[in-house]
């Protein structure tokens, strides 16, 4: 079982979170090409090793997080808020 360190809630069990996909993929702009949009939805790397993923703390504070995780060892290197605009975990307005 993964233990994910939510920046707001602290370390919680994996079953409080839901996996939210590849965080290295950037959503194209509204004016991007059809091809860019196709790749955004359908093509993914599947790295064995360190990877950046979205996780949603759905059974907790409901924040979306970016988790750096090794897909082989399951080691987690960092966890950070996905939103630049939510008040930070120290309670400071950003």
């Amino acid at each position: 079982m993964l233990r994910i360190d939510c920046p707001w809630c602290g370390v919680r069990n994996e079953d409080e979170f839901s996996y939210g996909g590849d965080a290295t993929v950037e959503r194209p702009t509204d004016y991007a090409s059809q091809d860019d949009w196709y790749h955004y939805v359908y093509t993914r790397q599947n790295p064995a090793g360190p990877h950046r993923e979205y996780w949603h703390h759905v059974n907790g504070c409901r924040a979306w997080l970016v988790v750096e995780r090794d897909t082989v060892t399951h080691e987690i290197f960092s966890t950070a808020p996905a939103s630049p605009n939510l008040p930070d975990p120290d309670g400071r307005t950003r």
């Binding site: 993964l2 233990r3 059809q34 939805v41 979205y54 605009n85």
Partner: protein
């Protein structure tokens, strides 16, 4: 004549507390502190089971959870539990146990004929024997195999006990309360770390209970009691006995099973039978000791053959003589202590047989002083006897097998060396490494925060165990943030070397073929390992699967290393080259019930109930599960009412008069902020910026791949305040989707939102008389002029604050009223009773479904994740001049071109026949044979009271342009074909006059 095999005084049993029990129906007595195994041995019972494959007689081989042979069925009735190990069952008064895998009786078992046909049952026999013909696989082979090679039978009655799961956190978790574990726990606890100490036995002490060691000049057990008392006094320590750590998972999460009530006839009131613990330790100290391995010789599975350490444990811990005349066979120094302890307990040691040429001089001297005969360079070639050992044949390790000496005995206590219990270390993801000095595997490099100490670390000296424990406990506390204090290491008074020399298999007397067992629980012989290797299954993983070695419930605790060594011999390579299989949880068998915990019956899963639930229940409503929700499906009015009777009646009452339905389960999301409208505009395909306050709009949202995700109505309550509804099914995922886009993609949008699904009870009021009904209870003007279709307003319903929406799912003049949920039931009752003349009725989800099909509203069965807005006839709503989620991918050529499945209405052309969900839509000129001939399928069906025929919605290739065509709905599973007409999906009131009336 009971318990004739008791020693005169030794042991930790309470001879004052006599317990009665039965085995195979025969009554026996034992003492408090016994296990079933020790009590059976005390009564001279040596034959306790039949082996898995060959049905060979088997006895008690060990004194712990590694037991491969003494597997029994415990208790009777609903508490009957098969495949329990007699060596771990604590005796209680009234215990009932039975042997298993034998028929008609243990001493005469018909299936033991398998023993004679064993050449047919060698490694891989399943794969070789039961191949042809395939029709025999399930009908014949499985039947025969299951009957012949079974274990015990589980009870089919419901388990009267319950199980539960618990969580606990700590800084330092110490596994095993032997000398190393106790020292570690005390050291960490003194540094004030939060410590958990677990041990699988009822009493702490581990091996100290089995041996007559002394520490600091005191008996080992006395030292254990002192440490235990100190630990109990500290409130930063929790001690768990009868608790086995069975799994080591990622991120240092470990799981244990606590046998709360297994040692008593029935659990105390309110107490679980067993409890599963999930521990979250900062650091784990593994002090799980070591397991002795047997010697591999002919008939080494015979009752009376036992591990040397087990024989010692029975004498020292349980006050039982496991035999009267013993031969001790060994390849190391350790078993000498068995000879000495057994001798002092009054057992006649007929010989110590040591495979080494030059045993330890001090031990040789000690045996001499006790007048015990010692044979060196020799080992047991075979055990002989009928159903139990009566003599052994001794061969020399140099291969002199033609003149075996025969030594009479009823007990062979053997030691092939010790294997550190590296299971947890291996489960944690680390790789054990081979240590040539002890001829076994020891922990390798840690991958998680764990360390093994003492025998589990391959250190078999008591002094090393005590020292490593203190050191690991101190360090663990420091590593988890505590200042460690110096703690003195206790002094072990007895020391000796281990000095093992390899003996992996014994020569057989006269070089005859003997069954030399490696894995006794799965009946895997040395010859099976050889055969598997010869046939090419010579990697450890293949060997394991081909022979099933190590795959029984004991997970090969006593057999793995012997099997690996034999494979290495066969391959002619050193053992480390062969490698080791990965240990996986659980370390011991764990009852399925404990994984379910208390989530059975009422607690099987959480259930969501609306405020109308009790009223619905009282009315005898039939419920349907919608996600976690329970929704009223239909309301039988009299005995014999079928679902069809009900939904037709409920539909007609709505269409002709007025009826109400509970729609609480729809998702509701409150959205506020200056950018709320812009946010909605990006989520939905249609326009939101200009929706006037006080108005409702139907919206559809797509996923990023262009498929329709969800639909529902959203109201503008104030300039910057919206109220969204979602489908019941997607309520949670829509909220998560909104959070994802708001937090990740558009953080600049100044909008906040949260679920308010639970705050409101939703009641739809539908039917031509709905306005008339509401006018009785609502305090605002709801005339068509003042409150037209798609209006929203705040109001009072009698004395209940409410929000009123003029929206319709049924196609009738209709409203939805939301009231705070604690008033939901009252609002429901007031609506039913508001107007006596109107005879307001209720309807369930079945009638709701009928009316939505009649009205052609798409729902979950059409929003199947593969349909676009265009497919569903919603494209007209889309504003493609703006940007919204899914816009780009919904414009891909294949999604907008011809050949798409599009939503259509379907009418049955045959009276009294309804369409079936899932039926294929087929051109009448084609006989449906392959799926490519299918042009679509039926998604939702009903009988329409309004139209007087069966109708349906379906997805049909290019369906929007095929209205009026006659096609067939084919249901191949039942060979049904129905003529249907394709039509517009809106069957009634296509202009929407009713809803606007």
């Amino acid at each position: 004549m009971g318990q004739q095999f008791r020693t005169s005084s030794s042991g930790q049993i309470d001879r004052g507390r006599i317990l009665s029990f039965t085995f195979d129906g025969k009554p026996y007595q034992g003492y408090e502190g016994d296990t079933l195994a020790s009590a059976l041995l005390a009564n001279g019972v040596r034959l306790v089971g039949r082996s898995f494959k060959y049905h060979r007689p088997r006895g008690i081989q060990t004194a712990g959870s590694e037991e491969p042979n003494a597997i029994v069925e415990l208790r009777t009735g609903p508490r009957k539990e098969p495949n329990t190990r007699a060596t771990t069952i604590e005796l209680f008064d009234g215990l009932v146990a039975n042997s298993q895998n034998r028929w008609p009786s243990l001493s005469f078992d018909i299936m033991s004929i398998n023993n004679l046909f064993s050449p047919l049952l060698s490694a891989g026999f399943y794969y070789k024997t039961f191949m042809w013909p395939p029709s025999f696989w399930t009908n014949v082979y499985e039947h025969v195999i299951r009957r012949a090679a079974g274990l015990g039978k589980a009870s089919t009655e419901p388990d009267p006990d319950f199980y539960e799961q618990c969580h606990e956190h700590c800084d330092v978790l110490v596994v095993g309360a032997g000398p190393a574990g106790l020292s570690a726990a005390l050291a960490a606890a003194r540094a004030e770390a939060r410590v958990i100490l677990v041990d699988e036995h009822p009493r702490l002490g581990g091996s100290l209970n089995d041996e007559n060691y002394s520490i600091n000049g005191k008996a080992g057990s006395e030292w254990v009691d002192e440490i235990h008392a100190q630990l109990e006094e500290m409130d930063n320590v929790r001690v768990f006995t009868r608790t086995t750590l069975f799994g080591y998972y990622d991120h240092n999460v470990v799981a244990a099973i606590e046998k709360v009530s297994d040692h008593m006839p029935v659990p105390h009131q309110g107490h679980p039978r067993q409890r599963m613990w999930t521990f979250y330790p900062g650091r784990v100290v593994i002090a799980t000791g070591a397991t002795e391995r047997p010697l591999v010789f002919g008939n080494n599975d015979m009752p009376g053959v036992m591990l040397a350490s087990a024989a010692r444990a029975y004498v020292n811990r349980y006050g039982v003589k496991p035999g009267r005349r013993a031969v001790i066979a060994t390849n190391n120094n350790d078993a000498y202590r068995t000879a000495i302890d057994l001798h002092h307990a009054g057992i006649n040691i007929t010989a110590v047989v040591d495979s080494r040429i030059q045993p330890d001089a001090a031990l040789v001297e000690e045996l001499e002083s006790l007048s015990i005969r010692l044979l060196t360079g020799s080992t047991v070639g075979s055990a002989e006897g009928h159903q139990q050992v009566s003599y052994v044949q001794i061969v020399t390790t140099q291969g002199d097998t033609l003149d075996p000496e025969r030594i009479d005995c009823d007990l062979v206590a053997c030691s092939g060396g010790w294997n550190p219990n590296v299971h947890l270390h291996s489960q944690s993801g680390a790789k054990p490494v081979y240590d040539d000095s002890i001829l076994s595997f020891v922990p390798g490099k840690s991958r998680q925060s764990e360390v093994s100490v003492g025998a589990a670390n391959g250190s078999f000296s008591l002094q090393d165990c005590l020292a490593q424990g203190v050191s690991a406990g101190t360090q663990a506390a420091r590593q988890t943030g505590f200042k460690s204090r110096k703690m003195a290491v206790a002094r072990a008074d007895n020391e000796g070397d281990y000095a093992i020399e390899a003996l992996w298999i014994s020569p057989t007397p006269y070089n005859k073929n003997y069954k030399q067992f490696v894995d006794q629980q799965n009946d895997v012989k040395a010859s099976d390992v050889v055969l598997a290797s010869q046939e090419g299954f010579d990697s450890v993983e293949l060997l394991k699967r081909y022979t099933t070695q190590g795959m029984a419930t004991d997970q090969g605790k006593t057999s793995n290393v012997n099997a690996l060594a034999l494979l290495a011999c066969q391959r002619g390579e050193p053992l480390p080259e062969v490698g080791i299989t990965t240990f996986r949880p659980p370390y011991v068998p764990v009852a399925m019930g404990v994984f379910a915990g208390h989530t059975v019956g009422y607690d099987f899963m959480p259930v969501r109930r609306t405020a109308i639930h009790d009223w619905n229940t009282k009315q005898g409503a039939v419920f349907i599960e919608a996600g976690l929700w329970l929704r009223a499906r239909y309301y039988p009015q009299q005995p014999g009412d079928t679902m069809n009777d009900c939904y037709i009646r409920e539909t007609e009452a709505t269409r002709n008069n007025v009826a109400i339905v509970d729609v609480t389960s729809l998702g509701k999301i409150d959205i506020q902020g200056p950018d709320a409208a812009e946010f909605l505009n990006r989520l939905y395909i249609n326009n939101w910026l200009k929706l006037p306050v006080g108005k409702v709009r139907y919206g559809a949202m797509l996923r990023e791949d262009g498929m329709v995700f969800d639909d529902g109505t959203t109201s503008r309550l104030e300039e910057n305040h919206f109220f969204m509804t979602t489908t019941t099914a997607n309520a949670a995922s829509v909220l998560a989707h909104m959070e994802q886009y708001h937090q990740i993609e558009w953080p600049e949008l100044d909008v906040v939102f949260c679920s308010v699904t639970e705050q409101w009870t939703g009641i739809a009021v539908a039917g031509p008389n709905s306005r008339k009904l509401l006018e009785q209870v609502i305090d605002i003007d709801i005339s068509n002029e003042a409150f037209p279709f798609m209006s929203v307003g705040e109001c009072m319903m009698n004395n209940i604050p409410a929000r009123l929406f003029r929206i319709s799912f049924s196609g009738e003049l209709a409203y939805e009223i939301n009231v705070p949920a604690d008033y939901g039931e009252q609002a429901w009752l007031e609506l039913l009773e508001a107007d006596e003349e109107l005879e307001v009725s209720v309807y369930g989800t079945e009638a709701l479904g009928t009316m939505r099909i009649e009205k052609g509203h798409v729902a979950g069965s059409e929003l199947d994740g593969r349909t676009t807005a265009q497919d569903l006839g919603l494209e007209g709503m889309a504003n493609r001049a703006k940007h919204f989620i899914g816009k780009h991918n919904s414009e891909r050529p294949l999604l907008v071109g011809e050949g798409r499945l599009q939503v259509v209405g379907l009418k049955s052309l045959e009276p009294e026949r309804n369409l079936r969900i899932g039926a294929h839509l087929v051109d009448p000129s084609v006989k449906l044979e392959t799926v490519s001939q299918s042009q679509g399928h039926v998604t939702a069906t009903t009988y329409s009271p309004q139209l007087g025929c069966g109708i349906a919605l379906g997805l049909l290739r290019d369906g929007a342009s095929r209205h009026g065509e006659q096609i067939e709905a084919v249901f191949p599973l039942d060979d049904e074909t129905l003529k249907v007409e394709v039509c517009h999906p809106v069957f009634i009131d296509p202009e929407g006059e009713l809803v606007r009336a």
